[in-house]
């Protein structure tokens, strides 16, 4: 696997990546096909409702991949990745709000409805520019990226590690949640941003747009996955693993550990932002509850459940948990929490390496372990 190919093309030579991309693209194709060609009453017809639902799962999957990148390979357990997700979401939401234009309830050409009836006379400066798609999409990357840069710089420079890091990431997202709840902030307070009309001129209510969003999310996931794969299978990826398992040693080898951490952390945050941006138009609302620490913990759970330090495990976990949530909340409304909670307990106790652990175990029987995706040995953040 140490082929001298460039870092970007390297992943495509890995079996795991090939399988993953294969399955993902096939799934996208099938869903699209069944949704478009089959008549509604056909048993195999995939309704637009389901397409949107799957789109949501995929955006969650991308988010999970981002978390796995920092947790699995860098050993940084971020309990605040929801914050980056939500920031990306808000950037997108603000763009969609501006797209409403004067079709809002009050018909105000400039101000979103919630500003009108809370008597904002002018658009706050940080809303400027969000009427332009390119700017908004840039912000989808920059807003989480910058936050991660500043926060990460402070944290890694002063070598905040392990549990301490986890807890202050939690503090970060919690603080942001409270902040966004405040109506003075000008982000719609608890109601957040909603009632979107169109995206890049496409009517968000039309089935075609929904399908398009679903495909876009799938593509984003594919790209994000390959990117992460490329990073972890590069030498930089091995430096990350080295940092995770023996930070001091890595320093003595002459690597500026804190910069590697920062780099990967920022990349991961941006991926999370993209996930958020794709999530918002599909669920039709973004509000501060996405910042809630509980949500961030859930993301980690998806990864743990799928199996950390494998990337594809994260995807499996995210989709599985959220699908379970969808089914249970519909089928056993007052008991679904038992099922979900039980699932978390059982998996963590019985499958320490998650579902991917099982798969990897099978593979390992046949050939030596893919050293580019090693299971963490003693997890560094254990030290407290």
């Amino acid at each position: 696997m140490h082929c001298s190919s460039s870092w970007l093309t390297r992943p495509f030579r890995e079996r795991a990546t090939q399988c993953f991309l294969g399955i993902l693209l096939a799934a996208l194709a099938v869903v699209t096909l069944f949704n478009l060609t089959l008549p509604a009453e056909h048993p195999l017809h995939v309704s637009t409702y389901t397409v949107t639902l799957l789109g949501k799962y995929l955006s969650y999957a991308l988010l999970a991949v981002a978390v796995d990148l920092v947790w699995g390979y860098l050993g940084i357990l971020s309990l605040g990745h929801g914050a980056f997700f939500a920031l990306g979401g808000y950037a997108m939401g603000m763009y969609l709000m501006r797209q409403i234009g004067d079709r809002g309830t009050y018909g105000d050409p400039l101000l979103p409805d919630f500003m009108v009836f809370l008597d904002w006379d002018a658009l706050p400066w940080y809303w400027l520019g969000f009427d332009m798609a390119w700017f908004a999409f840039l912000m989808v990357l920059l807003a989480p990226g910058l936050l991660a840069l500043v926060f990460g710089f402070l944290a890694f420079r002063s070598r905040v590690t392990g549990v301490y890091l986890s807890i202050i990431t939690q503090a970060l997202t919690f603080a942001l949640m409270l902040a966004f709840f405040r109506n003075e902030m000008g982000f719609g307070g608890n109601n957040g941003l909603t009632d979107f009309k169109e995206l890049l001129g496409f009517d968000l209510r039309s089935d075609a747009t929904r399908l398009g969003l679903f495909l876009a999310t799938g593509m984003a996931l594919a790209v994000g996955y390959v990117l992460c794969r490329a990073i972890v299978s590069s030498k930089l990826g091995r430096v990350c693993v080295a940092t995770r398992d023996a930070e001091a040693r890595t320093r003595f080898l002459g690597y500026r550990v804190e910069r590697f951490q920062l780099f990967v952390f920022v990349v991961s945050a941006m991926l999370a932002g993209v996930a958020g941006a794709l999530y918002v138009p599909q669920v039709g609302i973004i509000n501060p509850s996405e910042f809630s620490p509980i949500f961030s913990i859930e993301i980690v759970l998806w990864v743990a459940l799928g199996g950390r330090a494998t990337l594809y495990g994260a995807v499996i976990g995210a989709i599985l948990v959220n699908y379970a949530k969808t089914v249970f909340t519909g089928v056993m409304p007052d008991a679904w929490l038992f099922a979900l909670g039980g699932m978390f307990v059982l998996v963590t106790v019985l499958l320490p390496k998650g579902i991917a652990g099982l798969l990897a175990y099978r593979l390992r029987r046949r050939r030596p372990p893919p050293s580019s995706s090693p299971e963490p040995t003693a997890p560094r953040e254990a030290s407290a």
Binding site: S158, A175, D334, P352, R380
Partner: protein, 538 residues
């Protein structure tokens, strides 16, 4: 709708006069039935505006049952049976059917449904006036405490008709406090009448009523009066400034004590064992529900129930803790983050268990007498009792834990196992047992926190969620594995928060505190009291 003052005083006197007559009650009962019936009928017929007339009539009748009626009226328990039109007093008005007695004869009439009854309504205005009437009455009783209460109630309620008799009372009042209060009450009244002389007797008084009277006087159009009043106000404000400082400190400490209680259990399971127990909040919830259950078991003895639920809460939570340790955590040794995930699952289960098992609604936990109200330092500054108790309780729990950790065998073993598990084992310490005990201890303390919280906030399925994050902050801020750190961290965070709140607002204050913690951790990556030496190296 005001009861005329003269009447009000008359009323008081009559009621007084009635008390000794009670003996003859039954004898006269029959004779009075008709009158009583008509009295109540007129009361029932009257609109709120007219009610005073009816009350006047009742009082004037000098009927010795009037007091009973008026109190029933106060409690909204004086009602009329629709068909028979006879008046009844409802003894217990919760639930579906209510036990009632005849208002006139006092004979028990068994249970009636709310459907058959018609309540005689009353509103705040009347309630206030009736209360002041009863207050005047209570000035005659022997119990000093009651007299002081009564006198305090009268502040700002005195009116012309009461002046003379009150002065009378003032002369033969033995207790200094009561007479001071009465004097103030009278002064306030005089001031309301525009008597500038009254001001200096009020000068320096921190009592809100006095302040209210002064500030309204300060707005009066008589310049001299206004001048004097506002100057008096000025130096009161001066005194108050000190007060409010102390008050804020107290608020801070009491908030801090809650944080400490919530976090201290975590400091053990998390700091000492390295187990990140997301179900900690739910263990607190269990403690709170234990308190509720206790109060259900011992109806009417909320105080006793509360005291008993301290050990009970500890036990319940500790057992739950043991169950969690055995059932989940023991399989996750050395994988602290896995414990986070698993216990998160546990917390979900526990929450839903309570929702389906007990109820998704909050449960009522009654505060016993001795915990409600506040301890008056001076008239401007009084410390709410329930929080005072919680503060004390927190310190007690902390001291207890310190004792356990420093003085007992268990504490020694726990520290040994934390330092070096293998070594401890080889020295014959049964590490597994120590783990169980430690976790049980931490969980039990969470239970205690729950018991305390039941006196401050909702007892509901979400109780735990509201505290878990703050608890983690406190532990980390204080320095993991250091109980002192937790104490200092909790209290200081509480104070910081409360100092910020007045000018930053509740939300911003909380945000600022969080940001402060984040920055602080940058400066001191291992908290307030970091663990020293090689052991601490990552």
């Amino acid at each position: 709708m005001k009861i005329p003052p003269c009447l009000r005083w008359l009323l008081a006197l009559c009621l007084l006069a009635c008390l000794p007559l009670a003996v003859h009650a039954q004898a006269q009962a029959q004779a009075q039935d008709d009158t009583g019936q008509s009295l109540l009928a007129s009361l029932d017929a009257a609109s709120y505006a007219r009610m005073d007339g009816a009350i006047e009539a009742i009082v004037a009748s000098g009927d010795e049952r009037s007091r009973g009626w008026l109190e029933a009226l106060l409690g909204g328990k004086l009602q009329r049976h629709k068909e028979t039109g006879r008046f009844v007093v409802v003894l217990e008005n919760r639930g579906r059917n209510w036990p009632v007695v005849d208002a006139l004869t006092g004979e028990a009439l068994g249970e009636m449904s709310r459907r058959e009854l018609d309540r005689i309504g009353i509103n705040n205005a009347l309630r206030g006036q009736l209360q002041s009437v009863l207050a005047v009455l209570d000035l005659r009783v022997d119990d000093v405490g009651a007299r002081r209460e009564a006198a305090r109630d009268l502040l700002g309620r005195v009116d012309e008709a009461m002046v003379v008799p009150l002065q009378g009372l003032l002369e033969d009042e033995a207790d200094a406090e009561v007479s001071r209060l009465l004097a103030q009450g009278l002064a306030i009244h005089r001031l309301e009448q525009g008597d500038a002389a009254a001001i200096e007797s009020l000068a320096g008084s921190l009592n809100p009523e006095a302040r209210a009277a002064l500030s309204s006087a300060a707005r009066s159009d008589d310049p001299a009066l206004a001048e004097a009043a506002s100057s008096a106000l000025a130096d009161i404000e001066q005194k108050l400034r000190l007060n409010s400082g102390l008050e804020t400190l107290y608020f801070g400490l009491s908030l801090g004590s809650v944080l400490v209680l919530a976090a201290i259990g975590l400091a053990i399971t998390f700091g000492v064992m390295g187990v990140i127990n997301m179900a900690h909040g739910e263990l607190m919830m269990l403690g709170a529900y234990t308190t509720w259950a206790m109060q259900q078991l011992l109806p009417g003895q909320s105080g006793l129930a509360l005291v008993l639920s301290i050990p009970a809460g500890f036990l319940v939570a500790a057992l739950a803790g043991i169950a969690i340790e055995r059932g989940v955590i023991q399989f996750l040794k050395g994988r602290p983050l896995e414990t986070l995930l698993a216990t998160f699952g546990v917390s979900l289960i526990l929450q839903q268990l309570v929702r389906t098992g007990i109820s998704p609604l909050n449960r009522t936990v009654v505060s016993p007498e001795w915990m409600s109200g506040s301890l008056m330092i001076n008239e401007g500054l009084s410390l709410t009792l329930n929080r005072l108790y919680v503060l004390g309780f927190a310190l007690l729990v902390f001291a207890g834990l310190m004792l356990v950790m420093r003085r007992t065998r268990l504490g020694l073993e726990v520290r040994a196992v934390t330092q070096n598990r293998a070594m401890a084992r080889s020295m014959g310490i049964r590490a597994t047992r120590v783990d169980i005990m430690t976790f049980a201890l931490g969980s039990g303390v969470a239970g205690l926190a729950g018991v305390a919280l039941s006196q401050l906030t909702n007892v509901g399925p979400n109780l735990g969620q509201n505290y878990i994050i703050d608890s983690f902050m406190v532990v980390v801020f204080g320095g993991v594995g250091n109980l002192w750190g937790t104490l200092v961290a909790g209290l200081s965070l509480g104070v910081i928060n409360q100092v910020l709140e007045p000018w930053a607002g509740a939300v911003l204050a909380k945000i600022l505190v969080l940001v402060f913690i984040i920055l602080f951790i940058q400066k001191r990556p291992r908290g307030l009291f970091p663990q020293k030496g090689r052991a601490a190296e990552g």
